[in-house]
Subunit: 489 residues, 2 copies
């Protein structure tokens, strides 16, 4: 890993000045939508527009060509038709611009002519200008004031997660949907055809980036498999890398070729890359976010033993099945602990063997607190999953009132937070979408508020037990493989 990657790619993420080439005031045009997004996101550096037909666009200094701009410029976004792009990049180089992102499509993913144009861009890049794209949506970096297309409403706050994506669609979908998970990003990069800056450059950068703690990626193909594999292994020693590889089925591989002109690679090669590197493999957007959430909130997991606390027997059965299918274990509690729990939970309809069935989805808060404390004091478990208890609905108490109250019976939702603070062990909540009808939207609103409350207090929240179990198993697997790989060196 080159030590100066941070400096090398600084103009990509933190440009002091930026120009949009192919800018427009028309939000129906590509360059217009991008410029509009950047302006409404609030880029703080000096911003210029280039368009030979306009003298002023959205109040910005507008020039016919980039070389006409009188001051120095750090970076550029290019949104002109593909056939003009090589010439424009050449001009950017002449202007002393250090990095460009080419938003335009119509390159190697589209035709032989496009391939030729892309090769020209690569030749120009080699002379001293870095290129993101082509066929991409750009960079979202809240600390640098940059956003991707169409990311005008993405959060302005940074967070510990980076996401690099060969797909522009996922580059916007992942940070947009992450809102409900409470996940914030240091950087999101849509890098498209990766003609110059590729997944390896970005991985190296993010490994060094002090603002990034967790690296996530959607990758369709890599340019240099062995280099990528080796680098991935190195990066995984210090930061978890959660990787969604698109195109590992025949249909998916064909779509990859149409999309980013990448060769998808064989499933068996990727299996080996995951195994050797210790990277975490996910297969959907939801699994990517679910797994990221576990890393954001939980300390390094060291064991697979789960206590499940449920409010019903069947829920406990299927929770245990889901945990054990995912590779976690739900160990039988020793007799002494069972006896202690038996003195707390109701005799009929409950179970104390693990899963612990507290007898109803609406347990009295003090009883729930006592169960959690007893398990965390005496139970040899690595984490506790609280499955589908309706804490917000007990006694009809709303979240706002629950947070203010000092009476434990009036703040059931707070119990898991208090216990987590006292014991420091991972507590995970499963809060399903219980009322799914379109005329029951107020329940979903309440659920999301309760979810926010737990997320703000460092408790990961999942929509189903199955998803929680998979995310936790992914997280645990990373730490276990990392230890094995580092001890085998």
């Amino acid at each position: 890993v080159s030590r100066n990657k941070l400096e090398e790619l600084a103009p990509v993420f933190y440009p002091r000045s930026h120009v949009v080439i192919g800018a427009s005031a028309n939000p129906r045009k590509f360059g217009g939508r991008f410029l509009g997004a950047l302006l409404s996101f609030g880029y703080q550096g000096k911003l210029y527009a280039v368009n030979p037909q306009e003298s002023q666009i959205l109040g910005l200094e507008t020039y016919p060509r980039v070389v006409d701009i009188p001051e120095p410029v750090d970076s550029a976004s290019i949104a002109v038709p593909a056939r003009f792009v090589p010439e424009v990049v050449e001009e950017c180089l002449a202007k002393g611009i250090k990095a460009v992102q080419i938003l335009s499509a119509g390159f190697s993913e589209a035709s032989e002519e496009g391939e030729r144009l892309e090769r020209e861009v690569v030749e120009i890049a080699a002379k001293g200008i870095r290129v993101i794209g082509p066929n991409c949506f750009g960079v979202y970096c809240p600390a640098g004031g940059l956003t991707i297309l169409p990311g005008e409403r993405l959060p302005k706050e940074s967070g510990p997660v980076a996401f690099i994506s060969q797909s522009g669609g996922y580059a916007i979908r992942v940070p947009r949907r992450a809102g409900g998970w409470g996940i914030k990003f240091s950087k999101v990069v849509s890098y498209g055809n990766a003609c110059d800056i590729n997944e390896c450059d970005l991985l190296e950068y993010l490994a060094q980036d002090p603002d990034t703690k967790i690296i996530t990626a959607y990758i369709e193909g890599v340019k240099d498999g062995p280099r990528f594999s080796k680098l991935l292994q190195k990066v995984c020693q210090t930061k978890p890398v959660i990787l969604w590889k698109g195109g590992l089925t025949p249909g998916g591989a064909r779509a990859v070729y149409s999309h980013t002109a990448s060769l998808g690679g064989e499933e068996v090669t990727w299996d080996a890359a995951f195994k050797q590197s210790g990277a975490i493999r996910v297969n959907s957007l939801e699994e990517l976010l679910d797994t990221t959430l576990a890393f954001v909130h939980l300390p390094p997991l060291r064991g697979r033993k789960v206590c499940v606390v449920s409010g019903g027997g069947g829920i406990g059965v299927t929770a245990a099945d889901a945990c054990e299918r995912a590779g976690l274990s739900v160990p039988l509690f020793p007799v002494g602990l069972q006896d202690k729990l038996r003195s707390i939970v109701p005799p009929a309809g409950g179970s104390v063997r693990n899963p612990v069935d507290v007898g109803s989805p609406f347990p009295p808060p003090a009883m729930l607190g006592a169960v959690l404390e007893t398990v965390l004091t005496d139970g040899d478990v690595d984490m506790v999953i609280i499955d589908e208890l309706e804490l917000a609905r007990i006694s009809g108490i709303t979240q706002d009132r629950a947070q203010q109250s000092t009476d434990p019976e009036e703040r059931p939702a707070q119990i898991p937070v208090e216990v987590k603070l006292r014991f420091g062990k991972p507590i995970i909540m499963v809060l399903p979408v219980e009322a799914t009808e379109s005329d029951a939207i107020e329940f979903e609103s309440a659920r999301r508020k309760l979810s926010d409350y737990y997320l703000e207090n460092g408790i990961p929240v999942y929509l189903t037990l199955e998803r929680a179990a998979r995310a936790l198993a992914n997280c645990l697997g990373y730490y276990q493989r990392r230890d094995v790989i580092s001890s085998s060196k």
Copy 2:
């Protein structure tokens, strides 16, 4: 299958008169909550209460014992402590009551004493009274005016789906959550410890029940494996059976024993039962409902060839991966069809090979319509999945306006419905929860309304492509296995 099962269990589902034994006006008591649910659900037959301490409960004729009721009574719900239950069932028998549901817990799932009580109940049942439970939540049958605990707000309309559940928790969760899927039920039975009426009786009944088209089940253990297996095979020849088996992992099996005193059975035995019978195996509540939805809306699927229509390249790649991982196929379109599609979709950023990438999540409605028509006319596919197009958000048109408009450009959401009506081939929508934040709840409200619109028009809607693909593969697998099994006879 005995031909008189419908008659035999009629008092369970359609009692002309019913008595709640252990009734109470106090909703915090079990019998009180149940009676309250039944009253507010609106049972239409003659209803009595039994409680030796009260002379009148919630306006009902109340008697000290069931034998004191002057008129004949068809069925009873029993909510007295376990130790009194055998005596009460004996009295019901004496009174001429034909069926009881024992809601009380504390039987074979709890202790040796409970086991003894349950054996007593079985002996009384053998004398001529049928028993549901004990340790159950009862029966929901909208056509019979019955609801389970706590199902006072479940829909009063019947539908084609039956659900039998050894778990009371799932007996209420499944119909409650099914609202968002637009799924309605003929019967839901929480049958608990199954001391008399068991999964085989219910399966036989539902196979004959003209109101039930699709049978779903959550089962922890069966009383008579060979009988169940043989019966399952027979029933699957006429109606799909979607079966969620709890307790197939060691932790789950242990929880099963605590919960309903069932022996879970070996995974290998169940694998064989699924294979030989052609029943559909699911592993979560979501998969159960997703799969049911495919059966509710789609004609029998005969092939696995899918056309995916997406609004972005990466979405298409991962959609193809998800389809092929689930066992569906996304075949490459022949050159002639590709050429036709190429004249419709935008040249840059689109793909016509299948998945078809229409270039943006906001395609012009006329273009989307032309793509669908071309694919359904010339494409050799069994179904079309429309993946994450933001039809409701195009031009900011709301659903209500979209339905009224006659201008195709103003009714993008209608295009899939119109095409489905014209071609009759399965069209499936994927409508993800795009805005997940608690302060973006209005988007979820709009999404649910759009989802309702498609469901009302016979188009199944899924939250993710992965879930759609699994449900469709489950559905297809049923028809394929059914054909193989019936032709091998």
